[in-house]
């Protein structure tokens, strides 16, 4: 792989799932997959926002089963690979990974909170033993220092991960934060490093460029930024920008812009903007996907959602702790004297 080649990994139909409360339909998946193939995307990721096996009351129930979503995508893909997101604690080998192997998923991305990599050993091993491409993902990586991230990344690499991607789940990274982490990991791992940005502070595209310049080889992005909270790194913008920086992603520029138009009509129900709550999320360092839940619950308990965000940030709440939101809303409500 020469120095200026980049893998753009499209998370639109997974991270984007958060934006539509996981109500992806078969038509949306198949239409998108066909257009993604035309645009020569390396891979698309499909599924519930929290990965396979995550459909639940806690984080939202999907319209379709994981298996249906994945088969629909697979049927419409040829050269573009199909990837999935896997969080041990939500997904199990028996119920979820075996199904994914059966469907023919190509890339297994096993994720943990950025300090709990050793929960991924068995799932990474299982995917490797079944001959699949496996990445290790470190979520909410703004909650750990670069040195701790490196340690956790080394663990995942040892378990068999063939790439390590660090996720800015809260959209709170400044370019400097990205540079430090990506540089340290790139210099000390044997496997390629990737970056997954969120746009709460309007920095996702620039952070992605900084990541590339610091040695990253994989960048996660989403069409029109379709994703949780303020959305992800905007895929079609990034592809255009990469040309100016001299990076080669293999993606057809016109066709990806066409895909953006298609996505506009097909997927986007609300404009993907940085709402005031998203700004707060980025500042409070709180997992982006919480936004919808926080808004709804704050309204119900008549508290300021911004206060809820900061409180969640203070308690260092992580993805999967959505039940804490009600807890805190009630606490704040009592404080207000409701």
């Amino acid at each position: 792989m020469n120095n200026k080649n980049v893998i753009i990994y499209d998370v639109s139909l997974r991270d984007g799932s958060h934006a539509i409360s996981h109500q992806l339909s078969k038509e949306q998946i198949s239409t998108y997959a066909i257009a993604a193939e035309k645009a020569k995307l390396y891979a698309i990721e499909v599924g519930h926002g929290n990965g396979i096996g995550a459909s639940s009351i806690l984080v939202g129930q999907s319209k379709l089963t994981d298996e249906t979503m994945l088969r629909t995508a697979k049927e419409n893909l040829e050269n573009t690979k199909l990837g999935i997101h896997i969080i041990p604690g939500f997904a199990t080998i028996n119920k979820d990974l075996k199904m994914a192997i059966d469907v023919g998923v190509d890339i297994f991305r096993v994720a943990s909170h950025c300090t709990e990599a050793d929960t991924t050993e068995r799932h990474i091993g299982f995917a490797r033993e079944n001959g699949k491409d496996v990445y290790g993902l470190l979520m909410s990586s703004s909650m750990a220092s670069p040195e701790v991230l490196l340690e956790e990344a080394i663990k995942m690499q040892t378990y068999g991960a063939e790439a390590i991607v660090i996720l800015d789940s809260a959209g709170s990274f400044l370019p400097d934060d990205v540079e430090k982490r990506i540089t340290l990991l790139s210099q000390n791992l044997n496997v390629p490093v990737g970056f997954h940005g969120h746009n709460n502070l309007s920095l996702s595209v620039y952070n992605s460029i900084v990541a590339l310049q610091s040695g990253a080889k994989i960048i996660d992005a989403s069409i029109k930024g379709f994703g949780a909270g303020a959305g992800n790194t905007q895929l079609e913008v990034l592809v255009g920008l990469l040309q100016k920086y001299g990076y080669e992603s293999g993606i057809d520029l016109y066709k990806i812009l066409d895909l953006a138009d298609i996505a506009d009509k097909l997927l986007i129900t609300e404009p993907i903007t940085i709402s005031p709550l998203s700004v707060i999320g980025g500042l409070a360092n709180v997992f982006s996907a919480f936004s919808k839940h926080i808004k709804r619950i704050s309204e119900k308990y008549n508290v300021d959602p911004r206060d809820v965000f900061f409180e969640l940030g203070k308690e260092k709440v992580i993805g999967g702790q959505e039940d804490k939101i009600i807890d805190i809303a009630i606490k704040l409500s009592k404080r207000k004297g409701n």
Binding site: S56, T92, I93, E315, G320, D323, I326, D327
Partner: protein, 290 residues
């Protein structure tokens, strides 16, 4: 009153914590603390408490079968598979603290009678112990439950290598047990590790999807259950609910450990030990009756 003689197999943190709890029990006494290494920390603690020690492992019980009537096996799943048939032949009551789980899935507040009619019981999982009493209480007064979901968050520090490598088994066992006790087959268990410092207490939320629940009778049922649980898990608190939100009954419980030998934040480990003691005491009370 004559106490039931219990032997603890396995002198790690779990076994040592059990020992300290047993010393407070009016119904059981620890007649022997058995491991493989007399120099381990647990052994030193037991020695300081004047307990009889042995480093012969299961052989200590084989060679001296009258030493106890009940055995807590706090070794490992692999070892338990070896110990179980031996203990059965020796007519011992076995409380399996390992992930082996070959015996009766037991929740003291729910199926104590079933448990004491068997001779090998296990405590399911920490999430199971925390959630099943509540899920059961709800199921007793509610018809047509569509779905039950249980989410547990535990402190990273309280989750050792054994927990981390067995997350799938944890999920599968918890789901199996929830189904057993609530008769609902549509069940999901989720577990999260939270690295925040200071370490958080164990937090478990129970979601029950059902139409038209009678919140009043549910609340009464849960309150009654809470009283039962408090008798054996002093650190158990209901911190939210029951509330009915979006078609779902939600209850959140928090378990803080007693801090006997395990740290206070390890409520997840403590609740299992408390449940084990409760079952053992029931065996004891039953034997006395005979």
């Amino acid at each position: 009153m004559q106490k039931l003689k219990a032997c603890i197999l396995g002198t790690g943190n779990i076994g040592t914590d059990l020992l300290i709890k047993i010393m407070r029990s009016p119904y059981i006494e620890c007649s022997m603390f058995v491991g493989r290494n007399l120099k381990s920390k647990g052994m030193s603690k037991a020695l300081s408490l004047g307990i009889t020690l042995s480093d012969k492992g299961i052989d200590a019980i084989i060679e001296n079968p009258n030493c106890c009537d009940l055995v807590f096996d706090a070794t490992s799943a692999a070892s338990h598979f070896e110990h179980a048939p031996i203990l059965e032949k020796l007519n011992k009551i076995t409380i399996d603290m390992t992930p082996a789980k070959i015996g009766i899935l037991t929740i003291p507040a729910v199926n104590l009678e079933e448990a004491i009619n068997g001779n090998n019981v296990n405590m399911i999982t920490c999430g199971g112990q925390a959630s099943i009493p509540i899920a059961y209480a709800i199921s007793q007064v509610t018809q047509n439950i569509q779905y039950i979901e249980v989410v547990s968050t535990i402190a990273s520090k309280s989750a050792g290598h054994g927990t981390r490598i067995n997350i799938d088994e944890y999920i599968e066992t918890t789901e199996k047990a929830i189904s057993k006790f609530t008769k609902c087959d549509n069940v999901k268990s989720i577990i999260n590790l939270n690295p925040a410092i200071p370490s958080i207490d164990m937090n478990t939320t129970i979601f029950v999807k059902v139409d038209n629940p009678n919140l009043d009778s549910i609340k009464k049922s849960i309150d009654a259950m809470y009283t039962k649980i408090k008798r054996y898990v002093s650190g158990y608190e209901i911190i939210l609910g029951p509330v009915y939100d979006n078609g779902v009954i939600i209850v959140t419980v928090r378990v803080q450990g007693n801090g006997d030998y395990l740290p206070k934040y390890a409520g997840n480990l403590d609740i299992i030990n408390c449940a084990a003691i409760a079952v053992a005491e029931e065996f004891a009370k039953n034997k006395i009756k005979d």
